[in-house]
Subunit: 197 residues, 2 copies
């Protein structure tokens, strides 16, 4: 299994983390985003969106972190990481949606503005990210994990950019439940970190 | 089944459309976003994110359009709308991800800036939206539907804000494959439209 990867990308890290938790061997192929390798003709053949991560599992190529998490969970992870029953599956999807919205366009974008000097409205991103953190905080006051009784890919999808939020100048002091959830994830057997965590 | 709904929201329309295609009865409960009803204490009990759509299916409450589509497909739609096999499911998820990113933060946001005078960088949203349209165009040059051989919830999730793109001053003239796909969706048995379509 090969992962087209970038070390500082939280979206790529989701896949590295999930592979580590599942005990899957995955070779990392570095893509230099600063040189624009993700927009090369060869890379666009793999992913027409020109983004990392991309997974190549013996010729089955899947792009997008959310789609890759679903693929790995379904193929290698089993029901506990991604349940098949309608309501339980919808609970996971709710938090995947949060990871693609408040977290990605709020917390992750605030981080790239601060860390990589990207253009964007920092205050607006921070505000959106905090709205997402407030939703997580209220959920985690009523359960240890986002969807169901144990960890699912919902937790894996939300975790990286939440834990990295301070790099976008969003402190986690006001979110004690979120900080405890971060600690629970970091205590999972097989856990690996990334720079900044 | 009850849908907390707003007529002009493309995200709400995804659910009305999918219910119509599945032949499901769904009562629409109007939420007045302009009056801020979605941020009331009662509504936040239903959805902590304070957004429509929210589905109440006999007491099972699901928020977020993507999660609701997955719920309805799994419970009432069957394998053709949302396959269970890992790779086929990942193909659907790839396009759900596009619907939450280039389409929602590009095309849909350009539309609310133009239509409802919301703040935001119109040119940047249009550019992101066009990047999404280009990806759709290349996919649809190689298949009639986004994921697999027939319509799935991937098509339902991407369709509304793509078809409404001209309301955000993004013309579809340069995307003939996308326009044919729009026509295919509009020809599905049970199809219903929304204002602007």
């Amino acid at each position: 299994m090969k992962l087209y990867d970038m070390e500082l990308s939280g979206n790529c890290y989701k896949i590295r983390l999930f592979c580590a938790l599942l005990g899957l061997d995955c070779e990392s192929v570095a893509v230099d985003l600063f040189k624009g390798e993700q927009k090369s003709a060869a890379f666009l053949q793999l992913n027409p969106r020109g983004q990392v991560p991309v997974l190549d599992d013996g010729g089955t190529v899947v792009w997008d972190s959310m789609a890759i998490l679903v693929y790995l969970a379904k193929k290698y992870g089993g029901e506990s990481w991604l349940p098949g029953e309608a309501e339980a599956l919808a609970r996971v999807m709710q938090w995947l949606a949060l990871s693609e919205n408040e977290i990605l366009y709020g917390l992750a974008r605030a981080r790239v503005i601060k860390l990589f000097n990207r253009p964007g409205d920092l205050a607006q991103c921070q505000q959106l990210g905090k709205a997402g953190l407030a939703v997580l905080e209220s959920r985690l006051a009523n359960g240890s994990w986002l969807a169901g009784d144990g960890p699912t890919i919902a937790d894996i999808a939300c975790y990286p950019y939440v834990a990295l939020a301070p790099e976008g100048d969003v402190a986690l002091d006001d979110y004690p439940q979120v900080r405890q959830w971060i600690a629970r994830i970091q205590a999972l057997p097989g856990y690996v970190g990334m720079p900044g965590l």
